[in-house]
């Protein structure tokens, strides 16, 4: 469903990604791992159109999205949860969620979507009048995911959902990601937490300074010594 073909991009005149080819199939969960500065976040931003792609192309469900303005991508079914969760801190939880259903296709059924999200995350209903920024880290992550669900995405892109969360909260976040995936939503995930990332995904890519160093089944990557070495230096 998502096909990335040999893309090169960066910031200003600084090249960050040097020919990345990657795909995510329908219903699949794919993990993207690699050290800081390898270009993981840049790749996600390129997919979402937040930075221009220098060369190569990206297609989503057969449609070339390389040159589309970023704000048109959510309507195609891509929901991007940026690093740091992307919760609007000055906006109430309720309005955050409504904004998740800003695109026309989601707007018409946003009342029922809201009910579904509140069913998954009862805490959000409890706190719906609170400002996004007043929530705890874990609640913010739930809000970010809940808001993405409001748009009924076909592909959800998550940038380090476990960042700065307590281990117990991380567990529940990954459980939710698994549930979402079980409903048929494709997921592309960046994660430092190697075990969790490879546990929820079926395939993974290891990014190393702008290139794909390794790829394969998550289980294989999990037992790969090179991957462990990259993370622990052992």
């Amino acid at each position: 469903m998502l096909e990335i073909n040999n893309i090169v991009t960066g910031y200003g005149d600084m090249k960050v990604l040097d020919g990345i080819t990657l795909s995510v199939a329908e219903g699949e969960t794919v993990a993207l791992v690699g050290s800081n500065g390898a270009g993981k976040t840049t790749l996600l931003r390129a997919i979402s159109g937040l930075i221009p792609v220098w060369s190569g192309n990206i297609t989503f469900n057969g449609q070339d999205t390389t040159k589309l303005p970023a704000h048109e991508l959510p309507a195609l079914g891509i929901a991007h949860i940026p690093q740091g969760r992307g919760v609007l801190a000055q906006v109430s939880v309720y309005d955050n969620l409504l904004l998740g259903a800003y695109i026309p296709s989601a707007k018409s059924r946003r009342e029922e979507s809201l009910k579904e999200v509140f069913k998954i995350f009862p805490i959000l209903e409890e706190k719906k009048t609170h400002l996004g920024g007043s929530l705890s880290g874990g609640q913010q992550q739930m809000l970010a995911i809940g808001r993405a669900l409001m748009s009924h995405p076909k592909l959800m892109i998550l940038d380090e959902p476990s960042l700065g969360l307590a281990p117990i909260v991380v567990d529940s976040v990954f459980k939710i990601i698994k549930d979402i995936s079980a409903q048929g939503v494709s997921i592309l995930l960046i994660e430092q937490n190697l075990v969790e990332a490879l546990a929820v995904s079926s395939r993974g890519y290891v990014l190393e300074t702008g290139r794909i160093a390794l790829q394969g089944k998550s289980a294989d990557l999990f037992n790969n010594d090179a991957v462990r070495a990259a993370y622990l230096g052992l």
């Binding site: 800081n36 960042l163 937490n193 075990v195 300074t209």
Partner: protein, 244 residues
């Protein structure tokens, strides 16, 4: 080895988030101390708080006998505590030489003397061919070198390197590590923040691990890396149970 920098009970929070809860450790003369921890564990906050960019909410930082808690960045630089930024921040519209001269002026009175010192540092950093190149024209690897070079020109006692290898390929990373070793051989103690563990393990004499703003472990690299708490923090709780 004597203690160069003593950090006791350092605290810092932003809004309701406790970025540093209660961090204490020492940096010894001439050592390279690795500061590691998962994203968001408070490493950068630590560097920024020591360097004076943030005011600590509590705790004490002693540089030798001098209390340097909460001093301004410019004063910290004068005390011999230099730092680089996580995202490389050279003065983009200035030349390499000008970038380093600005730092060298901290101790040199005239621009001529500063230029001499700057060129010396630039040679150490291996940027001699690029004296008059604008910093904006440099690739990331050279920018990182320029960052290091600027701190060197401050004639510091301590350099805090905040992910100075991020964005480099393995070969460049090796060269970067060599440069850090060269600085260290000049008697400069180094606090080294890095994500690539291989680099940390090969470079550092000692490692301190932060997790969620707290000190998780401290010790020799090999020992710390075997510490189950550290593995759990990095790779996830389950990695340990997965039979490794």
């Amino acid at each position: 080895m004597g203690t160069l920098l003593k950090v006791s009970n350092l605290k810092k929070s932003f809004g309701g988030v406790h970025a540093l809860k209660d961090v204490s450790f020492d940096l010894r003369d001439g050592e390279i101390l690795g500061l590691i921890g998962p994203n968001g564990s408070g490493k950068s906050t630590f560097v920024n708080t020591i360097a004076g960019l943030h005011q600590p909410d509590g705790g004490e930082v002693m540089l030798g006998e001098v209390n340097v808690t909460g001093l301004e960045p410019a004063i910290m630089a004068r005390h011999g505590v230099a730092r680089t930024f996580q995202s490389s921040r050279p003065f983009l519209n200035l030349t390499v030489l000008e970038n380093v001269v600005i730092a060298a002026l901290l101790h040199e009175k005239t621009t001529a003397a500063a230029e001499t010192l700057a060129i010396e540092c630039i040679e150490v950093a291996g940027l001699k061919d690029l004296l008059y190149a604008k910093a904006s024209s440099l690739p990331i690897e050279k920018r990182r070198r320029l960052d290091l070079c600027r701190t060197l020109a401050l004639k510091p006692k301590i350099i805090m390197l905040d992910e100075c290898l991020a964005g480099l390929n393995p070969r460049e990373m090796e060269e970067g590590l060599d440069l850090v070793r060269v600085l260290n051989k000049r008697g400069i103690a180094i606090i080294f923040i890095e994500h690539v563990m291989k680099a940390v393990v090969s470079l550092c004499h000692r490692i301190v691990v932060l997790n969620q703003g707290e000190l998780l472990a401290e010790g020799a690299p090999a020992d710390v890396m075997k510490n189950t708490k550290v593995i759990a923090a990095y790779l996830g709780e389950k990695y340990i149970h997965a039979g490794n």
